[in-house]
Structures are given as C-alpha cells and as structure tokens.
C-alpha cells in the first residue's frame, strides 16, 4: 500500500465540504444574506473577486452514452481568504455576486476548527433541512399523480 489520498483533508471531510458548498449553492441569495448577517463576519481578503461566467452543461446521448453539449448556464464564483489563513470558495448557478462572496466566506469559516460547529448548526443544517422539505413536497405532490393504466382487450365485452 503506497497510495495515499492526495489531499490534506480526510476523505469524509472532503465530501462534507462538497455537500456544504452544494447546500449554499442551492440556497436563495436572500437566505444566504440573512444567515451571513447572523455571523460575526471575520476579516477576509478577496483571492478571486465575485465573477459571473458560463458553464456549458453536458448531457449524454441516450442518457448513458457519449457526451454532447446541451446548453449553457450562468454561474457566479468567488474565492476569499480569511485573516486566519483559510481559503473559501463558492460556485453557484445564477448571477448573484453578493451570494457568491458571502457563501465563500461561510465556506472558509467552516474550515476553521473553532467555527465549524457553529456554521454547521446555525447555517448549513437549517438550509439543508428547508431544501429537503421542498424536495419532499415535490415528491409527495408528484406521487399523488401516480397512474396505473389498464389495457382494454379488444372485442371483449
């Protein structure tokens, strides 16, 4: 066994950060702003100022085959560095630069051992729960339209 994971974060920590970033990305700008206000915003500098650009979304032929380009989405991203050294990133659909900046600061704070728990409990968990509720409502509403078709046999009466 000579192979090691080429990252300074443990495997589960890595995926936890991805999940958090996804939760922040899925939140509305208003939700992020409201949560950001609740924080004692730390000192930070911009590594990459909020920037809006395009990502070309790909699909696959037939669903599982070779990739093709479907069309673009607008994406806004931002990278910040806290005075304490942590670098935070944000990527999300849309064009809201304030959301990108605030999300990047939250991501950076989450990486700081003394702030992680607070970020998770105060921001990530409630946002994730609200998003899960919305998704569950869609599922339940869709479920109510489940259909069973019966084939009528021709000439049979």
């Amino acid at each position: 066994m000579t192979e090691t994971t080429p990252t300074n974060l443990p495997e589960d920590g890595h995926s936890a950060r991805q999940k958090n970033m996804a939760t922040l990305a899925a939140a509305t700008p208003a939700d992020i702003a409201e949560n950001f206000r609740k924080l004692d915003a730390p000192a930070y500098e911009l590594v990459r100022q909020p920037e809006t650009g395009l990502v070309m979304v790909r699909g696959r032929m037939g669903g599982t085959g070779s990739p093709f380009n479907l069309g673009e989405v607008t994406v806004t991203r931002c990278v910040v560095r806290l005075a304490s050294g942590e670098t935070g990133s944000a990527y999300s659909l849309g064009r809201n630069k304030e959301k990108a900046l605030q999300s990047a600061v939250i991501d950076a704070l989450w990486q700081r051992a003394d702030a992680r728990e607070q970020i998770e409990e105060m921001i990530i968990a409630p946002l994730a729960a609200a998003q899960e509720t919305t998704t569950e409502t869609v599922r339940e509403e869709t479920e109510a339209t489940r259909v069973n078709f019966f084939t009528m046999v021709r000439g049979d009466n």
Binding site: A26, M56, V57, G59, T64, L70, V73, L93, V138, T145
Partner: protein, 373 residues
Amino acid sequence: MYVAVKGGEKAIRNAHKLLAKRRRGDTSVPALTLEQIAEQLSHSVARVMGEGSLYDEKLAALAIKQSRGDLIEAAFLMRAYRTTLPRFGYSQPVDTAKMLVERRISATYKDLPGGQVLGPTFDYSHRLLDFSLAAEDDERTPQAETAETRDEPVPRVTDLLGDEGLMEPDPLTDEDAPVGDLTREPLSFPADRDLRLQNLARGDEGFLLALAYSTQRGYGRTHPFAGEIRYGEVEVEFYAEELGFAVTLGTIKVTECQMVNQFQGSAKAAPTFTRGYGLVFGQVERKAMSMAMVDRSMRWQELGEEQTAPAQDIEFVLSHSDNIQATGFVEHLKLPHYVDFQAELDLVRRMRGEWFEKRASAESDGTSREAAE
C-alpha cells in the same frame, strides 16, 4: 447585398422611444415583474432558455419582457448576452437517472419499474378556456394533492430492454475524446451526433415539430414509440480545477425523451430496437419528442437505411433549425438594399428595352412577310 447607409438618426431615436412606450402599454395596468413572468409563464421562459441556449430563468424573464413576448427576439437577446460572459468550462454530463422526477410516462410499458407519474401536464385536459382565470380578483391559491412517497429507483426505460439485448446500447466514446461545441466552432459537415444533438437542443421548436410530424406522415420511415418521457430537476456538477473536486452548481429542470424505433437489422447488426434521443431545458415536451424523432431520422447512414426524406437530410435540418440565424437572414431583407436594387432596376429596364425592341422587329418582319405573300 446590404450596403451601409447614413442618416435617420433622429427617426431611429424616436422609434426607440415609441417602442419603449408601446412595450409598456397602458400605464394604468400594472407593469409585469420578472418574478411574475418566471413563475407564471414558465413554458415561455423554458422555450427562451432552450432556444437561447442559456439557462437562467431571471434573464429569460427579462428578455421576454423586453421583447414584448416575442420569444424568438427574446432568445436572440439571450444569445447576445452570453457573448459578454467568460466561459468557465464544461459541466460533468448530467445524470438523468438521478433526476428528481416530476413527470414520467411511458407509452411502451404500463408497468415499468418506478411507475408512471403524470405530474403537471396539459395532456388530459379539455381544451376549454377557463374563464375563472380571467376574473380580476384571481387570488385563489390552488392546492395540490400529496401522497406518501416510495423509495423506489426510477431506471430509464431503455435500460430495461437493454438487458435483453433488444435495445441498441448507447454509443460510448473515449471520455477524453473532444466533444463538438457550436459556440466555439461554427457548424460544418459532416456533423457527428454530438453536434447534431447540440444543434437540435437549441433548435426552433416549430421547425423540429414540423420535421418530426413529416416523418410520421411518411416522409422517412419511422414508427416511433415514446419509450419514456421524464421531466424534473437534475444536478449540474462542475470540476473546479483549483479545488481539485467537483462542485454542485445547483439544479436545472430538463425534459428527456427516449423514442424507440424498430430496426429490421442489416448484414452487420441483428434486428433490434433503435433510439432517438431528446434532451431540452425546462418542461418542453413537444420539443424533446420532436428532437428525439429528428435525431433518429438523421441516423440513417449509421444504420444503413435509405435516405428519402427531408428530416434525414443532416445538412438541410441542421442548417435551418436555428431560429436566430434564420430570423437574421430573413429579417435583414428589411434593411436598405438601395444600391442592389438600383442595379437590378437598371438591368430590368435594359432587358425590357431589348424585349420590346425584339418584339417590334419581329412584328415588322411579319408585316413585311405578309406584304410579300
């Protein structure tokens, strides 16, 4: 040919002002908000995002408002806007099997794993105008029924038949093989299926609908079944170089259509079912179906079929599907063509002169011949 002209600045400025006033309409009527358009005209928004090839509901709503509801003009605005933004890169291919399904139907299997859910659809409604929507105080909040969900995977229907070898497998290239991109290289021929699908995905709904319809009516032999249509949210993931991992950018709504066609088999391949594929932004079922049918038609060469119909003519289909290009070329005819027309005018005058001269001399020839007889 269009030759640049000068002048008309004031008239143009005033026409712009008049357009702005007419666009707003009667000011005693409240102005539309972008939220109203995005929420309540979602099919228009989806169409503009698809044909503008840019998924951003707010932008599409703005484009619709600015264009007075002219959806091709709105798609044009989206295409123009995208040129102002840098390209960050390509997403990882979306996985439609993991879709948060809001609608899923199959015309080929009534009892397929994961079942069928109708979702929000016009399919089973009488096409009767609902005058209750016209009421000024339409403040009712419609309630949807809910039911307890089941935790059941919803595999793509084409994967089911695939198990038996009855369904052709999806083409799989090397993951690192280049993928054609019409926003980087203009369309050229021969066009492989990646370019064709991108072209169709942003093609005009009406054009694709008409072509798909033509294949049903006998212009090209396809007898398609709607193997599966699904609509819902998929996650968009993007590999961020500087982070070294994929980030989820959010979710977009897409409609996917798998059309299934019989295939007689050839010397090379056994009889099987073949497929056409449709994938579009938003809930745009009509276009997803049309796209799948036209995609299948254009595969005639690869499957060793005969080319007999317009929908199979790759160059014809792909060159005329883009309504931004089409409207540009058709509508440019409104621009001054004075120099061109002047030249034509001179030419037609000369030809007429010659024609009348010839006739006159033919007549006088005839008269002199008669006199001689």
